[in-house]
């Protein structure tokens, strides 16, 4: 039904996927801090951190090319700032900016592609992330499906009734499309209202009481130990060697 690549990847079945989301979050946080605090951040540092993540990508049996490509999605944002630095004559800073953000994005992507959103949110809340934040994310995720689902259905319905057969003027097509968009939002809104009603009927009082999280297994602990020592080790080696 849904074509979100990340969603599909995250439902994969590798031992990396099966690690407890809490240790993956902890490892990611360590990794991000290490990247941010490694000085100087040269090619060697970039390569070392990237290799670290890529070993995770391989362990999770995720498509290497697809991951590298998708992590590049952050580049346009940092590129602007990098360009400013470069124009100001500080090409080193420009490189650092791009390399750091790309390496960070790779790490975040690895977490997102190897952990289902529900597991991620669950872990976030049991790690003490603010409840309201987790709740909002949870609804965002739920409603994302509501909206994409509605859109998908409307599209199929339109196609079944031959909407692709007629090629109207651009202007007319634009008008039709905007009408459809309005209906999409109205329908999604009604759905959202229905969901709210269903929650209220089951006694929802504004707080979601989650079931308790399972205990960490020894392999989760082992992973965290490994990831932490690799990340911190890298960081110290890179700083000392400089």
């Amino acid at each position: 039904m849904h074509y979100l690549v990340l969603e599909r990847w995250s439902r994969g079945d590798s031992s990396f996927h099966r690690l407890d989301a809490r240790v993956k979050i902890a490892a990611l946080l360590l990794y991000l801090v290490a990247i941010a605090t490694t000085h100087p951040f040269r090619w060697s540092a970039f390569a070392a951190f990237a290799l670290l993540v890529l070993s995770g990508v391989i362990a999770a049996r995720l498509p290497l090319g697809g991951m590298l490509l998708r992590a590049a999605a952050v580049l346009p944002f940092t590129a602007t700032f990098a360009a400013i630095s470069a124009l100001a004559g500080d090409t080193d800073a420009a490189f650092r900016l791009l390399a750091r953000s790309y390496a960070s994005a790779l790490g975040v992507l690895l977490l997102a592609a190897s952990t289902t959103m529900p597991a991620l949110l669950h872990a976030a809340s049991s790690l003490g992330f603010p409840r309201i934040l987790v709740l909002v994310l949870q609804f965002l995720y739920r409603y994302l499906f509501v909206v994409t689902d509605q859109a998908q259905r409307m599209r199929s319905a339109a196609l079944c009734r031959g909407s692709a057969l007629r090629r109207g003027a651009k202007r007319e097509r634009f008008r039709a499309a905007s009408g459809v968009l309005a209906v999409l939002f109205a329908r999604s809104y009604e759905k959202a209202q229905g969901i709210e009603r269903a929650m209220l009927a089951r006694g929802f009082d504004g707080r979601i009481h989650l079931l308790s999280s399972p205990r960490l297994a020894w392999r989760d602990a082992a992973f965290l130990g490994l990831a932490a020592s690799a990340t911190l080790g890298l960081r110290f080696l890179l700083t000392i060697s400089a």
Partner: protein, 229 residues
């Protein structure tokens, strides 16, 4: 005997001006199973939404001797379990088990007790295998059953089921009839499925244009309103 549900002169107009309920009087007594029949758009769903205070129009509604007021709403919602016409709306938590445990947790039960009840309810509805799956990826009939489990897990005193048999395959419908027969609760079944209503209901009321146009035994009502194919 005081009725479990006592609704008098309920009137409701939607924001767009549609008069959906036009003076409905209705009672539900202990151990009864009442079928709400009637044409599309006659106000059945609108009416049952009033019973849990999800809509409120004019008129008086009492549930288990509690007046419909903001203060009483949590108590009322703990007593009426409602399965919605569109069960997809009922499911919003990441996994089936968590979704089914959502109601019991709201009742203030411990995670362990909520899990125990959720598992039991999933067993009752034949969905225990799906406990770890994401509810919105299930088939329509499976969603239905999970939604029902979510309500059963709260052990309400009254069950309100809006079109419970749509999307169910014949064996699942048969299982549902068997399950509902075993449950001691008073029930309201909103349905177009006459064999299903016949199998369970002790009486029927017929909605028409926002009013109750008649009531009696299922066979009476079906005959009077020619309510069969």
């Amino acid at each position: 005997m005081t009725p479990l549900i006592d609704a008098r002169k309920v009137r409701y107009r939607y924001a767009d001006g549609t008069l959906a309920l036009d003076g409905v009087d209705f009672q539900l007594f202990e151990r009864e199973t009442v079928a709400l029949l009637g044409p599309n758009g006659s106000g059945k769903t609108t009416f049952v939404l009033h019973l849990t205070g999800l809509l409120h129009g004019e008129g008086i509604i009492r549930v288990c001797d509690l007046a419909m007021s903001k203060k009483n709403l949590p108590k009322i919602r703990a007593r009426i379990g409602m399965v919605f016409q569109d069960s997809e709306e009922q499911l919003f938590l990441p996994t089936v088990l968590e979704d089914v445990a959502f109601g019991p947790r709201n009742l203030g039960l411990s995670p362990e007790e909520a899990t125990r009840r959720a598992k039991l309810a999933l067993e009752q509805t034949g969905m225990e295998e799906a406990a770890a799956r994401a509810p919105y990826h299930l088939s329509a009939g499976e969603k239905r059953r999970v939604a029902l489990a979510g309500v059963l897990a709260m052990s309400p005193e009254i069950l309100v089921l809006d079109e419970p048999t749509t999307f169910l395959d014949p064996p699942a419908e048969r299982d549902l009839v068997r399950l509902l027969r075993e449950l001691p609760q008073a029930k309201i079944l909103v349905t177009h499925d006459i064999p299903f209503a016949r199998a369970l209901a002790t009486r029927a009321v017929f909605f028409e244009k926002g009013k109750i146009a008649g009531h009696g035994s299922i066979d009476d009502v079906v005959r009077r309103f020619q309510w069969e194919i």
